[in-house]
């Protein structure tokens, strides 16, 4: 390719600086440039413009704008009402989830430690029952070794202020002399809590009912 004028060759400079000319055109341009100062100068200006453009500081998105973009994208992606509700709930609960779980676990550990520190204390203070009147109660019954004849035995026992049986009366059950002797012995060796009136031991009555219980084994 032979260029007729400088104006003609300069129309190729834009492609030339981009390396977009074919080999023949490049050769012709180089041949012309070797002998033309004016075109050389013009090409230098082309290159200077290119350098100025490419040397400009690249604009960066500020952190604030980057955050806005992220939020905008997130909002756009979660336009669905249910999803937005879930995200809102997650945002509410997420910050308190870790502290609350940690608090619960710490409380659980403390509770376990407290429970494991020993047997609970028992109240050793002999409190006086504050009820107005309490009936006598059994402390310990002597072993029974007699035959009731298969039927139940019901008796009224009179207990004095010291918890001793003063007398008793059989309401229902056998009345044989041998049985009564055994019953006397049992009553003699049994211990009772006396009845109380305003906390003061006093005499009282107690109804006892015995029934034969057979255990198979």
């Amino acid at each position: 390719m032979i260029f007729e004028s400088c104006a003609e060759i300069r129309s190729y400079f834009s492609d030339y600086v981009d390396g977009a000319c074919d080999a023949r055109t490049v050769r012709s341009i180089r041949y012309h440039l070797s002998d033309c100062k004016s075109c050389n100068k013009d090409l230098e200006r082309y290159r200077a413009v290119q350098l100025d453009l490419r040397g400009m500081a690249r604009q960066q998105v500020s952190p604030n704008l980057a955050l806005r973009l992220r939020v905008q994208v997130s909002q756009e992606l979660h336009r669905n009402v249910a999803q937005r509700l879930m995200i809102r709930l997650e945002n509410i609960f997420h910050p308190v989830l870790l502290p609350s779980v940690a608090g619960f676990l710490v409380a659980l550990v403390c509770f376990g430690l407290v429970l494991g520190m020993g047997t609970p204390r028992t109240n050793n203070i002999p409190d006086v029952p504050l009820d107005l009147v309490t009936p006598p109660t059994i402390m310990e019954l002597a072993p029974m070794n007699f035959d009731m004849g298969g039927g139940p035995l019901v008796l009224v026992t009179y207990v004095n202020a010291r918890g001793e049986v003063t007398s008793y009366k059989v309401l229902s059950g056998p009345h044989s002399p041998k049985f009564m002797e055994s019953l006397d012995r049992m009553m003699y060796f049994s211990l009772f809590h006396p009845a109380t009136t305003f906390g003061v031991p006093t005499s009282g009555r107690l109804v006892l009912s015995f029934r034969r219980i057979t255990v198979r084994g």
Binding site: R45, R54, M56, V61, A66
Partner: protein, 209 residues
């Protein structure tokens, strides 16, 4: 579909390879937030740079950038893969800037270009705090030069400016520019030639003035 590890959100990531790009597009179409975070990490700075130099008024650039990514988000399902994702993104960005300029064109036409941009102050602060290696003088000199080039660029007619920005600042090939703008490669070449010529003259006038 196999999950793609688009976990990073760091800025200035390089564009994904074509094989990864298909997976990225699939994730984007599925509405993956991580994929969009990755997309932002890769493209928010280049697109912002493009908008900044095309729009003429830097203060409008953040709003336009937000609109662009909103349109990308809404239109990703229409992306059919005929062009690369980068070209498609740039096409949306260029159209959005042109629409914005059309609606605000009259006002923008009369507004002078401001050199008091935030990045300059940040860079000078960086120098003072020892983060930048250059001296404050060099930073201001560069800023002055940039401002002059920006003024010359802003004074170009829109078709020439768009092509020059895409070629010289965004380093797109003729073919990519043609795809972004929807014009023939020959038209790209002629607009670029004319744009460079005008820019050369304007910068010469500035230098001599």
């Amino acid at each position: 579909m196999e999950s793609v590890p688009f976990m990073g959100v760091a800025l200035d990531l390089s564009a994904p390879a074509s094989s990864d790009e298909a997976a990225l597009v699939a994730e984007l179409k599925a509405g993956s937030e991580k994929a969009f975070a990755y997309l932002l990490g890769v493209y928010q700075n280049p697109v912002y740079n493009l908008v900044y130099h095309m729009i003429g008024d830097p203060s409008e650039a953040p709003d336009v950038l937000q609109n662009i990514f909103l349109k990308i988000l809404r239109g990703i399902r229409q992306f059919n893969g005929n062009s690369s994702l980068k070209t498609w993104l740039y096409r949306i960005a260029v159209h959005e800037v042109l629409n914005h300029r059309r609606s605000w064109g009259r006002r923008l036409f009369h507004e002078p270009y401001s050199v008091d941009d935030e990045s300059l102050h940040l860079r000078v602060q960086g120098v003072m705090w020892g983060k930048e290696k250059e001296t404050p003088y060099r930073v201001y000199e560069q800023a002055e030069r940039d401002a002059g080039v920006n003024r010359a660029l802003a004074s170009l007619a829109q078709p020439y400016r768009t092509v020059v920005v895409l070629r010289e600042i965004e380093d797109l090939s003729y073919e990519e520019i043609a795809q972004v703008l929807g014009i023939a490669e020959g038209t790209v070449k002629s607009r670029l030639r004319r744009g460079r010529e005008l820019l050369k003259r304007k910068l010469s006038v500035q230098m001599s003035g």
